[in-house]
Amino acid sequence: MLSPTPTILELPARPASPGFEDAAAQCMAHWKLLGLTRRPRVHWFPRPIVPYSSLLGSIFELTDDSDIDAVLFAEERRHSPLHNLREVIGAFQAPIIDLNGRAGEFADVHFDLMNRQTWDQTAKRILEFSGRRAKLDLALRATAEPDMQLLAHAFVSGRKIAATRYPLASEAVCYPGYWTAARTIPAAEKLVRRGLLAKSFFDRIHECRQCASRRLTVREECPKCRSADLADIDLIHHYHCASLLPEEKFRQGRALVCPKCQQHLRNYGKDYDKPGRAQFCRHCEETTSEPAVGFVCLDCDASTDGEAIKRIDLYSYALTPQAEALLTQPQKPPLVPGLPVSLMEELQRLGQHQDKGMMIAELKYAARDTIIGAKGEAMFDRLRRLFLENMANYLAEAASLHPGDIADYVLLASTDDKLAAELSTLIARSEAALSERLEPQLRLAVKSAQASR
């Protein structure tokens, strides 16, 4: 793990060479032309490193403020994992500038004073970040809600939340430029349910049921003892006496002699053939043609049957137009944690154009944990989606549906008691078509034209 330390390494500073000073001056002049009129305010991570700090001091302004333009990354430990870089740095909405050039896509841009091309790229990234940051609502810039932090960063960085295989972490996947997968995925999934992120399939991987690591080795195993010590053997069929046995049973030095009738096998295709192969387990001495598939966890050494292994679907995420609008519209509906944005927008719209009352039905699923535990989250999501589709079909124009994170919401632009009474029946009907019972729990909030209760 990387850990930020605010101290400067106490190494004797060497005077910058004249070549560097010239390059720094030229870089500043070039940046000015690109619109970067002042020295970018930066933090160092993990700490200012000599000679970089003295060399770059004329280009970047080291500050203790939280309002920064970038983070300078100069990792001296060259082999530490980087998938958690953004999580450790913590400075969202500012680009990470890689000074060593080894952070690759985990940083937002690479800067090398002696490489003019990187000057352009660095300035561009700093300006892009600051430009987009300026569009963000102040509340969103400073939000403490992890989901919204992720959303805001996705907007400011302009980067897709793209999954990448990463064997150095036990999750075996990471999202460069973002937090670790363990933190990014739950937040992103919440945002997907709120309609703010769209997900696209990346890969299906397997997970150890014991330690949740995805660093597994897959191999062919003996179905009886689960040993991988299998040897391929040829089977020999002796036509004359119908012997069908592994080749080693026939082998006598360089000759093949049938163990049953003692005849020499001389002519392949006439005396005998090799109709197939089998796997011989050197551990338990079983022979099979159909070895089992098994997984061994590289982290905890647990063995799992190929059939019992847990399968995980991984996704990449991208901002939806709804999210873009939410993050950039000056007239945004108030954000209430947990409530879907579409619901807030709809409430705002109805509030402006309708004097009549309205009803909001909240649907929470009592069987959620049971279904997820038994059949996985993907199954629960499918059932929930199907249930909402059924509800939408029944309600038609009478109401709008707003999928949320923990609960879903039905907004009825009416306070008709009859409709409210029918809602329970519709819920039961929508659930009846499902293979599993979701057990939706209904809670109603009614806002009358004059008053709300």
Binding site: H237, Y239, C241, A242, S243, L244, C261, D271, E290, A292
Partner: protein, 426 residues
């Protein structure tokens, strides 16, 4: 009066000695070999109610290790039903080994899926078909059990079938035990219904009789159990077809006793068309000839060192009551025509009526002996069965014997792959 009426009048006027002279064929080849022994056996060896129930003791506590082997070629449709039937057995302490013998359908995939679901224990599959014998040899060598039960993939089983089969091997002299086989699809066609009558007579009752006098000579390939040491003793199965008859004969020759367990009932699908049925019987009869009188012909010779009277007995029995009887029947018809001219149809009708009466008696005894409700549902089919067996199957047998003796017809049979057939000795 027409010729038939005159013929009946003629027969009615005959003395007993004259009737014996006319009906010599039936009295020589039918009554002593089949009718009388069947009736005696049926009346004396009836299954009692308690025989159908297993012992109170849990068989898993005492039973030796058992492997059930299923060898098949392109049996993807039948395999799972067969395995599920095995899993329903009262005795569950056995492994199931499936061999896919060069299947080109999804049999290997189905078998693998059965292993994955815990319904079977092991799959062995070959890319090239080698025939049933080699498949069985591979299976029993790789299986772990001391007792190897060979079953056909298109079979299903009575709940206590395997338990009864295994119990019969308690006697250490028994090297092999075969179960009863009954058609599962008897109602599918008239031919299938005929086979229910035939299986009842030849296996359900016939093998009781053979068992009583230690003359079980064919442990059916559909459902039999073998002691591993007995298989080792004879080197396993030899090249087929007729491999079930062959291994039974070789075990007997090596001194093993062959038992029949009438309560171990296996159900199988029998041919449903006349063509399929005749084709199957042509194959069986040809195989019987080449195994008995080519491969093991020396057993008939009293001067040969391998001669054993009890083995020669069943060889002569088959020769006389199957082979000679088949050849004698057309001779008998010709003799009748020459001797009795226009009275021949009346004589044959009388013979058929007599056989029908005897068949009714045998069916009734078979139903009573086995305790199965087969009498009434087969009664209406008996006249057809009787005529079919006399005038269709006797010539079919004759054809098979001639084909095998003269042309070695079994070498043309695609039951075994050509590469094996061409290299087959004998």
């Amino acid at each position: 009066m027409n010729d038939i009426e005159l013929g009946f009048a003629f027969l009615a006027a005959m003395s007993a000695d004259s009737l014996i002279a006319i009906f010599w064929y039936t009295l020589l080849f039918e009554v002593p070999r089949y009718i009388l022994p069947f009736v005696v056996t049926g009346l004396t060896l009836r299954s009692r109610e308690k025989d159908w129930l297993p012992q109170q003791q849990d068989p898993a506590d005492t039973a030796p290790s058992v492997s059930v082997i299923l060898v098949g070629h392109n049996e993807e449709d039948a395999l799972e039903a067969c395995v599920r039937s095995l899993k329903e057995q009262s005795f569950a302490n056995f492994e199931i080994v499936v061999v896919s013998d060069g299947s080109t359908d999804r049999m290997s995939t189905v078998a693998r899926s059965l292993v994955q679901r815990g319904l079977a224990d092991r799959v062995l599959s070959t890319d090239l078909r080698g025939g049933k014998s080699s498949g069985i040899n591979l299976a029993w060598r790789m299986a772990a059990g001391d007792i190897i039960i060979n079953v056909d993939c298109d079979c299903s089983f009575d709940r206590f079938a395997i338990e009864h089969l295994v119990r019969a091997l308690d006697d250490p002299r028994v090297g092999c035990v075969c179960g009863d086989v009954a058609p599962r699809n008897a109602g599918a066609s008239v031919i299938a219904q005929f086979q229910e009558i035939e299986y009842l007579q030849s296996i359900s009752v016939g093998k009781r009789m053979s068992n009583a006098i230690d003359q079980v000579v064919c442990a059916s390939g559909a459902f039999s159990a073998f002691r591993r040491t007995a298989l080792d003793d004879v080197g396993g199965f030899d090249v087929g077809g007729g491999e079930d008859l062959d291994i039974t004969l070789r075990m007997r020759k090596n001194g093993w006793s062959i038992a029949y367990a009438p309560e171990a009932v296996c159900y199988t699908d029998v041919p449903t068309t006349t063509f399929q049925y005749i084709r199957q019987r042509l194959r069986w009869e040809r195989d019987a000839i080449w195994i008995r009188y080519r491969k093991h012909a020396r057993w008939l010779n009293p001067l040969n060192s391998s001669f054993q009277p009890w083995e020669a007995f069943h060889q002569w029995d088959f020769l006389l009551f199957n082979v000679v009887a088949a050849f004698a029947f057309p001779a008998y018809l010709i003799w009748l025509a020459l001797q009795y001219g226009s009275f021949t149809p009346a004589i044959l009708i009388s013979m058929q009526i007599g056989l029908l009466v005897l068949d009714v008696l045998v069916l009734a005894v078979g139903a009573w002996t086995t305790g199965r409700k087969v009498f009434w549902r087969n009664l209406l089919y008996l006249p057809g069965y009787s005529i079919f067996m006399t005038y269709v199957m006797r010539p079919v047998r004759l054809l098979a014997y001639v084909d095998e003796w003269v042309f070695s017809g079994s070498h043309r049979d695609n039951y075994t792959p050509i590469k094996v057939r061409l290299e087959r000795p004998w």
